[in-house]
Symmetry: C2
Subunit: 425 residues, 2 copies
């Protein structure tokens, strides 16, 4: 439907467009890891869309693509809108990119209406949020928030490539990602639109919702070490096999997290036995842990119980066990004044403003260190995400774009300092 620009609906179809090669590393599925050729292809196309929407485009030192739509005065502070464009392996099309394409649609709607605001708008496409290539997540939004560090650059992907080398191979100075940091005064606020990735909005028949806070999470790598040996000649009683130990640990994660409070979840998404031969008793087994809860205290209590179980399993089986904390993110509240304004905007487009927490981490967590943040959730089919079956409705996305534009109107009218109306929920 060339020539027929429906803000939001176009944003969703653009995510579909980005779901195939060259924007994916593999045909028939979407895998777009940080600093890969698929990432580069997505940057090129998004850059074109941003330019077409009237933005000045640049790539920052941490491989974030930023399109800027100036306000009435040059160099005004900006409302930043965006999300990430990397995906988990074999992931969905909307988790991340929809927040970027919605931002582009909002700017294009303003430009088409000939409107300039008292603030600039910047649309940002973060290069890495999922941590799907390197073992820590939100590398890019942390860099923007001034939280990049040297240790980050030493991280290695599964092929042994360091983040520093990956930046260099992408044509970026490998020592400079920290220079992507923004000064606090540069950004008025950060608004992230994102699919819910959970079942709440669908269950309540609502197209969009307002995020109150993001859950606390920890990522750990756990390693059991035993004695490798021949699968045929080592009697069962003489084995020191880390595989059954890891199995017990996986079941302990499930048991402990199932018995906890509502928001507690624990996941083992990776498991590997080394050396990995059919006929070799493993010498080591590694599993990943991702544990989240509504509060850091609840999360840490669960992590401690899991680690105590792991030590007990290893001791009982005469094995070694170690764990490495790869990431710890506290719960992160969205800004109360912005939550209020977003509620007014959602109501303005005819939707009951539903507030809900996020079990998933988002780039808004990083940006909260720099400026007030707000998040708009969009209903997704069955709550399914990180999966090719991930789906959104075009009319939900159109409502999301309208709510975002209404939010921008409210910011223009009321500014940021006055605090918004409360008690709308």
């Amino acid at each position: 439907m060339a020539g027929c620009f429906v803000p939001g609906a176009r944003a969703a179809s653009r995510c579909d467009e980005l779901g195939e090669p060259p924007y994916s590393e593999a045909a028939g599925r979407l895998t777009r890891r940080f600093l890969t050729p698929a990432h580069r292809a997505a940057l090129d196309t998004l850059s074109g869309w941003m330019t077409e929407a009237g933005m000045a485009v640049r790539l920052d030192a941490a491989a974030n693509l930023i399109g800027r739509y100036e306000g009435r005065t040059p160099a005004a502070p900006a409302l930043m809108i965006g999300s990430h464009i990397d995906s988990v392996p074999n992931g969905g099309r909307y988790d991340g990119p929809l927040g970027v394409t919605l931002g582009i649609d909002c700017v294009q709607a303003l430009r088409d209406a000939g409107r300039r605001l008292p603030f600039a708008i910047e649309v940002i496409a973060f290069g890495d949020e999922e941590g799907s290539r390197f073992p820590a997540a939100m590398t890019c939004s942390r860099a923007v928030a001034g939280r990049a560090d040297a240790a980050m650059l030493a991280m290695r992907d599964a092929a042994g490539c360091s983040l520093a080398d990956a930046f260099a191979a992408f044509g970026l100075p490998q020592t400079e990602p920290a220079t992507a940091a923004r000064r606090p005064g540069e950004l008025l606020a950060f608004l992230e639109a994102h699919i819910e990735q959970g079942p709440v909005l669908e269950a309540e028949d609502l197209p969009i919702g307002i995020v109150t806070a993001i859950a606390a999470q920890k990522r750990l790598a756990v390693r059991f070490t035993g004695v490798a040996g021949h699968a045929g000649t080592t009697p069962m009683r003489l084995r020191r096999d880390p595989a059954p130990a890891a199995a017990e640990a996986i079941l302990a994660v499930e048991r402990i997290c199932s018995g906890g409070e509502a928001g507690l979840v624990g996941t083992v998404g990776r498991m590997s036995a080394y050396p990995g031969g059919f006929n070799v008793i493993p010498g080591a087994v590694e599993i990943s842990l991702d544990i989240r809860a509504e509060t850091s205290a609840a999360r840490d209590a669960a992590v401690e119980r899991v680690l105590a179980e792991i030590d007990a399993i290893a001791a009982r089986r005469g094995l070694g066990a170690s764990s490495e904390l790869l990431q710890a993110l506290p719960e992160c509240a969205c800004d109360p004044a912005l939550i209020g304004r977003l509620g007014v905007a959602v109501q303005a487009v005819g939707v009951t403003p539903r507030r809900l927490p996020s079990g998933a981490a988002h780039d808004a967590m990083s940006l909260a260190a720099l400026c007030p943040t707000a998040m708009l959730f969009i209903r997704c089919a069955g709550g399914v995400s990180h999966n090719p079956a991930e789906a959104v409705r075009a009319d939900d996305c159109a409502l999301a774009a309208l709510a975002m534009l209404a939010f921008i109107d409210i910011l223009e009218r009321d500014g940021l300092e006055q605090g918004g109306p409360e008690g709308l929920e």
Copy 2:
């Protein structure tokens, strides 16, 4: 010690020589998979050693290296001596190659003594026994025994390369491995010397032993399928996660095989979660199974119990489960007459002839379809194998070479048909 040739001791040190690059795919460890550059390098060096020992060398259509030492008459039937030269990932130096270098030492001792026998001797280096690159084992000895098939050629390695393509890349006609098959009359017998890979000889303070039979084994790939999803937003009670199901299966394998008869062992050497993201509930988990017992009946009873458990686990958790039988090998007895002759040979070098079964599979299992087979076990430190710590004593290897030469003497004197002395154990 140039000029000082101690048969057997040299065989062991030659295995050490083959334990480093270019004979390994990685520095600091031994990984030599079938049809890799490391395999090629080993062939080149072994070919030189065979030539130096007086053999005519050829590479057969299944990438087996064969050195032939003619008997008194040309084209006489041969005693074949050998083993495999591939390794498991990060394996030991003697598992396989020692049986080849011992064969070369035996021929060199005969040649140095100016002896020709009424039969030829062929020393063979099988290219694949471990199945470390492709999902089935003993590809090469099965080809020699006339048991190669088209399905074998379609097998793919972890990188997606088919065996047919791997042969072609190695410079061999990809459709011809079946032509490596030998006619029954060509081979008088097959003798394989191999490290024990278990603790029995060491426990009884014996340097070498005589194998009676090889255990029955099955290899299976098991896959649990559930629903992939976001690790943060899917409540524990709504998950259909294959990881805890695989964990229960791993523990069932351990429990069932630990409770079985003495020779029963079960191993999970590989495990993978897909798609494999830290923050993704897996959609599928695959584990490998290797189950062995002294008889096919005992093995099959254990496999059936494990598969029944797997079905029950999947049903209880609302998951899919499937298993694929990749390989089934019945127990395989060595030839009684050759066992007797090998016993006389072992006694002749001053060692009590200890008979024992093999929990590990060996190329001799394949050759048993073609000719009578015998196996000589060599003590290894701690019974450790498939591990860089694998070790042998040079004096044990020297005794092994002497026993093999004595065995050849007995074959020359008594022939093969008369049956050997029994009751020596």
